[in-house]
């Protein structure tokens, strides 16, 4: 499990409603490779379209984050269709095995 802090932007022309704590979109760090991540909001209950800010994101494995995954890595995220937002990794807080 990889716990990160990231700065994200939720596009204005994607979702029409905010997402809540625990939202689990699919992230693209590498073209055509999607991986699930769970977003924890920092001191707010919802994240609105057009908004940007800092969040925590947890990934289950490094396997689909790309060989170059590190602080500064950029990504897009969505729900399987066109990207709904984008972001950048600010820090990698914790890496621990789930096994």
């Amino acid at each position: 499990m990889i716990k990160t802090r990231a700065y994200i932007r939720l596009f204005e022309d994607g979702r029409k409603t905010p997402f809540a704590n625990g939202y689990r979109p699919l992230f693209n760090f590498v073209d055509d490779v999607k991986t699930s991540g769970s977003i924890t909001l920092v001191s707010k209950d919802e994240f609105c379209p057009g908004e940007e800010g800092e969040v925590e994101i947890v990934f289950l494995t490094k396997e689909y984050l790309g060989a170059e995954f590190k602080k500064g890595s950029t990504f897009s995220f969505g729900e399987g269709g066109p990207p709904l937002g984008e972001g950048e990794i600010l820090s990698i807080e914790e890496i621990k095995s789930l096994c």
Binding site: T17, L26, D32
Partner: protein, 171 residues
């Protein structure tokens, strides 16, 4: 017809063949007994009845295979209850533009396993019928090493699902 549709039809056809086999066995037994009363009793409820059932199954399987595909989804108890009450839909705060499905029960089980790692909530696998015209507008992609299908939210009301009565194993 896609791979899943073909597999479903094959299963339906095999079911139908087994009805036909049972039906023919009923007829054969009646003929061997050489008893008129037996023949009449066997043909109507046992023999001909089974063959008619087989024909109906074949017809339904052919129609379903032509018009729909099967996908799978791991759902929590809360989502299962919501689907039973309202059908497939997106809920506020979660996915808004679509819902994710897997082409096989095994892949859905693996998505369910990942979900459990995130939130610790147990999952049930649902088998879902998707009209082919809806399937044609779905996004297909790979996620976490599995095949996934995103069905747009405005099409979700057209899906019909039921929970599996077994737990699929994944590699």
């Amino acid at each position: 017809m896609n791979e899943i549709g073909r597999r479903d039809s094959i299963i339906e056809y095999l079911n139908a063949l087994s009805y036909i086999e049972e039906g023919l066995w009923g007829l054969t037994k009646s003929v061997l007994s050489n008893n008129g009363e037996d023949i009449a009793l066997s043909i109507i409820p046992g023999g001909a009845g089974k063959i008619v059932k087989a024909a109906k199954t074949l017809k339904a399987a052919t129609k379903a295979a032509k018009t729909s595909s099967t996908v799978f989804r791991a759902v929590s108890k809360a989502e299962l209850d919501d689907i039973a009450k309202f059908g497939f839909r997106n809920k506020a705060g979660g996915y808004e533009t679509g819902k994710l499905f897997a082409p096989t029960a095994k892949e859905a089980a693996q998505f369910g396993r990942n979900n459990f790692k995130f939130d610790g909530i147990p999952n049930t696998i649902m088998k879902v019928r998707v009209p082919n015209n809806v399937m044609n507008g779905a996004y297909r992609f790979g996620a976490d090493g599995m095949n996934a299908i995103s069905i747009p939210s405005n099409q979700l009301r057209l899906l019909r699902g039921s929970p599996l009565n077994y737990t699929p194993l994944f590699p």
